[in-house]
């Protein structure tokens, strides 16, 4: 069985200043697997995510470096790739482009030719899935940050992707919003790739992590084992998460020393 996402020797150089943003990065993600992409600012995390959706490179290379569900990303199947890979951007205001929630969630399916009653039902179903039933006529600028993020996720889910790619999904969320969004992500099926600085989120959701630094994949492994390696974490601008340092009085998980 093929992996949901397969990346082989992916390199990318920014055309503006020639800096190498990704250097021979290789990894794969299973069909129901959730992996975390970690690294300091400027490590190449967001650039990697844009590649997974076919948004980068600007001109698709003739020899593929990324396979989605066994199919290589190429100039001819970008539409299919963008339907299969749902990308949630860091700033919800970049993603919420329509005047109402309904219009925004319907944006993706409309590009796929879904219209009328089927579209309306699909929008309702996706809003229900993210816990925002009845928000159809609300205007994006009147939503809280957490609600905006949920609407963005509904818009992504409306395209029925098999892989979810999330860029800093919990940044700017308050603790309750963060907890609720984490539970929501946990409930979603399919492969998930989460680029984040929120290491507690990674501990709770991801079975495996990869660490990027200066465009290179510097470490890959099981979440708890890798995040417990304090030396490695500090060397790449990260920290050992709090939950792996102390035993929580009510939690079943035991810390890894």
């Amino acid at each position: 069985m093929s992996a949901a996402v397969e990346v082989r020797k992916l390199s990318y150089q920014y055309p503006q200043h020639g800096r190498l943003a990704l250097d021979q990065v290789s990894f794969s993600v299973g069909e129901e697997e959730c992996i975390g992409v970690l690294g300091p600012n400027g490590a190449g995390k967001s650039t990697l995510l844009l590649h997974l959706n076919g948004l980068l490179p600007e001109h698709v290379a003739p020899a593929p470096s990324i396979w989605i569900g066994g199919e290589p990303i190429g100039p001819k199947n970008l539409d299919l790739v963008r339907q299969r890979v749902g990308l949630l951007f860091q700033d919800p205001d970049d993603q919420l482009i329509s005047a109402t929630v309904l219009e925004d969630v319907a944006f993706g399916p409309r590009q796929l030719g879904v219209e009328g009653a089927i579209l309306k039902a699909l929008v309702g179903q996706c809003l229900d899935q993210v816990g925002l039933s009845g928000f159809e006529d609300r205007q994006p600028h009147r939503l809280s940050h957490g609600e905006k993020r949920r609407v963005c996720l509904a818009g992504v889910l409306a395209c029925k992707p098999s892989v979810l790619v999330l860029d800093e999904p919990t940044s700017d969320l308050d603790p309750r919003g963060r907890r609720e969004f984490k539970a929501l992500l946990q409930s979603l099926p399919g492969a998930k790739i989460i680029a984040t600085h929120d290491l507690e989120l990674v501990v709770d959701l991801c079975s495996r992590v990869i660490v990027l630094d200066e465009g290179k994949l510097v470490a890959e492994g099981a979440t708890r084992a890798l995040l417990s390696n304090e030396e490695l974490m500090l060397a790449h601008g990260l920290e050992k998460p709090h939950s792996l340092m102390h035993r929580h009085p009510h939690g079943p998980a035991s810390p890894v020393s």
Binding site: L55, R82, D93, I97, A99, G108, H141
Partner: protein, 201 residues
């Protein structure tokens, strides 16, 4: 509050009228004004009188109209000044000023009595070009975002402004406008990517 959401919507007698009718009337007045002679002429009284007659039914305050017209005046003057490079420019200069003000005033009356979303919907029904409608819809969506960004930058700058000098204020304003322009360009790039990510072509 959205800058294009006015409390007036729904209060003026003309607010209850059909959005399509109001839009077509405004576009009609604008077209008629544009077709008038390129020098100040008695025919200019036709759109001017029509607008003045409609004004009481819109209940748009004079102060609001003047403030908005003053904002538009910078652009109107910029365009009108271009006509001065031609020989016998004065009539064209004044006609540009009058015509532009009449057109802007008719749009002010329309937006005072009609929510922007209704205007957009009617334009869509009238089969206006999709690119133009997308541009207008994105402008409507991102006005509050840009407004909020401007407020944040102004606050941050004010927190580091220790001496009140007129020149300093203007310099700060210029910096904020420049920064806003750069940030808007970056945001536009990200919005485009987000649209492409959901299949937009």
């Amino acid at each position: 509050m959205h800058p294009l959401e006015l409390e007036s919507h729904g209060r003026a007698p003309l607010a209850g009228a059909s959005s399509r009718l109001k839009l077509l009337a405004a576009l009609g007045i604008i077209t008629l004004t544009a077709l008038l002679p390129r020098r100040p002429h008695i025919l200019y009284l036709i759109p001017a009188t029509t607008l003045l007659l409609l004004w009481p039914f819109c209940r748009m305050p004079l102060g609001y109209a003047v403030r908005r017209l003053l904002v538009a005046e910078m652009f109107i003057l910029g365009i009108a000044l271009l006509s001065l490079v031609r020989p016998a420019a004065a009539p064209i200069f004044f006609s540009s000023l009058i015509k532009s003000n009449l057109c802007v005033f008719s749009m002010l009356l329309l937006t005072w009595t009609t929510p922007f979303q209704d205007v957009l919907q009617e334009l869509r029904r009238l089969r206006f070009p999709a690119v133009m409608l997308t541009t207008l819809a994105l402008m409507y969506r991102y006005l509050p975002v840009l407004g909020e960004e401007t407020r944040r930058m102004s606050r941050a700058r004010a927190s580091r402004t220790f001496a009140r000098r007129r020149l300093g204020t203007w310099q700060s304003l210029a910096l904020i406008i420049g920064q806003l322009f750069i940030r808007s360009a970056d945001r536009a790039e990200r919005i485009y990517l987000a649209m492409c990510a959901r299949g937009w072509k």
